[in-house]
Amino acid sequence: MSTRTEVEILSPGAFASIQDGGRRGHRRIGVPWAGVLDRRLMRIANALAGRAEDAAVIECFDGGLHVAASGGAVKLAVAGDTVVEVEGTEGRRQLAPWRSVTLADGEQLRIRKMEGGRIAMVAIVGLEPAAVMGSASTYARAGIGGVDGRALGAGTRLALSADADPWDSDRVLAQPPAADTGPIRLVPGPQADHFSPTALDALVGGEYRVTPEADRMGIRLEGAQLEHAGAAEIVSDATVPGSIQVPGAGQPIVLLADAQTAGGYPKIATVIGADLGRLAALRPGQSLRFAAVSAAEGACIARAAETETRALIASIRALPPDGIDLMALYTGNLVDGVVHALGTEYRPLY
């Protein structure tokens, strides 16, 4: 019997969508980049799965994503500070995060919860959704990208390309990136001069809290009031990912990947690209502080972060082999053996 191999979404958890490196070149017609909120996580997930670094992944929030392999074996990899569980023919087992795993037909993987942050990326070998305007990223507002232009729902089946090869050895990032709890860095401007002289000090000196209004478009913060020097409106101009808009009430909103491309609120500062993923991963209720840097310092930080990311990716290693012929294992109708194939060092302990 020949069936095509698919990943079935049993539950998307809090929120999950297909994203890749994003859609470039269309801001001039009002189309934001979309794409993953944390590009480093995507690159690690893809490297663990042996995929191109900007290949499409499932980006999910707050855990709960639950998927099943259907019609064949599926290799996938999870990046993020997660608790992951695999449900196979012989029951459940916990899986170390930051690794790839090959699910046999019918096996399920679930991100039970996040240990830190709120974003995880799942790379899947053979996931090649059609590009719309140059990217597979879901941008729900215009109904483009991903699966039918929408976030993933329970029951969605993602067809995998026929030449997908799940038999490569599994990989692990033995030393995941440490959580960075330093301040979120920003570059003052473009409209810092639309605020009272003390507003920038208030933004940088104060503590802000993430409100429940936090999604792929942006994060509304609450904290020290930012006073405008005049009207809280400008003639609309371009926003960028990281723009900190301040509407009349004086509370900042940081714009993210899906945000509108232009806006009429003054923007007191811009969060640097290297810190945007960390900001997007903050949960409602968590607090944060900002620190000001120059645009040139921001670029230095971007280059340092890139070096760090490359080092992390370079440190990815194949899981210790244990002499089992994986092809025979998965194509044969074995009931046991699946766990052994995953590598003894990383076998769950319960």
Binding site: R28, P190, T261, A262, T270, A295, G298, A299
Partner: protein, 253 residues
């Protein structure tokens, strides 16, 4: 003429030509935008990802791993100087159908009342002017057009709507627009345009481009439905409402 360079983080900067809505500023923005696109297409601006032209500024997005603010600025300086002599170029001309009747025009009576003229006079004023597309933004394909005839220059509604239907033709703050998508919105809704302003399957997904000129042609509710049906069944090509070329690319060159 003067301009300011504004930082927009570590990966973008904005060249601002002024702080108001003015076709003369738009001419400078579009001249600079066209010059940057030409340099980029010629491979002369490594690391520049894209540009975003607005009413009065051009934002240039770049990859800080490939270039930096100073290098981008150095490359832009001569282009900015040339753009200051940019003259207004003529974009494409469109005549778009609008139904100004019934449920397509929920705020028509209120607007007429606020100004103290008849509803038909509001329609005559709105459809009697030619509008310049200042920019596309906020939502995919959303055109900011102006300037409205003086009597129609009202502030936004006191109570924004949670749901403005797609296709709504709206006015506020001296401008008029068409909502390509259902969205929250605070503008006054005068009518409905049945022509889709954005379609990702088209080579140019946005129907309109900055610099285009638009006139509205009143149609009845019945005609509006017929146009929608014709568009849905692909019997009607949206390009039929284009009055004249040049295309935006030729326009830019």
């Amino acid at each position: 003429m003067s301009f300011r360079i504004l930082d927009a983080g570590d990966a973008a900067l904005t060249i601002e030509f002024g702080s108001i809505i003015d076709p003369a500023l738009l001419a400078e923005v579009n001249a600079l935008d066209a010059a940057v696109l030409r340099r980029k297409q010629a491979g002369k601006l490594p690391g520049v990802i894209e540009t975003m032209p607005t009413f009065r500024s051009l934002t240039v997005f770049f990859d800080p791993l490939v270039t930096d603010r100073d290098a981008v600025l150095a490359a832009l300086q001569p282009l900015i100087a040339a753009a200051e002599h940019g003259s207004t170029t003529d974009g494409r001309h469109w005549r778009l159908p609008v139904c100004y009747e019934g449920e397509a025009a929920p705020d028509l009576a209120e607007v007429a009342g606020a100004i103290g003229i008849g509803e038909d006079e509001v329609v005559a004023l709105h459809s009697g002017a030619e509008y310049l597309v200042y920019m596309i933004g906020f939502l995919p394909g959303f055109p900011f057009m102006g300037d409205l005839p003086a009597p129609l220059r009202l502030p936004r509604r006191a109570q924004p709507r949670v749901r403005v239907p797609a296709g709504s033709v709206a006015i506020a703050t001296g401008l008029t627009a068409i909502y390509p998508w259902e969205s929250p919105g605070g503008w006054h809704l005068l009518g409905r345009c049945p022509v889709p302003l954005f379609d990702a399957r088209r080579t140019s997904p946005s129907l309109l481009a900055a610099g285009d000129r638009v006139r509205f042609v009143p149609v009845s509710a019945q005609e509006c439905r017929a146009i929608e049906a014709g568009l849905a069944s692909a019997q009607i090509d949206p390009m039929q409402w284009l009055e004249s070329a040049p295309t935006p690319a030729e326009n830019a060159a």
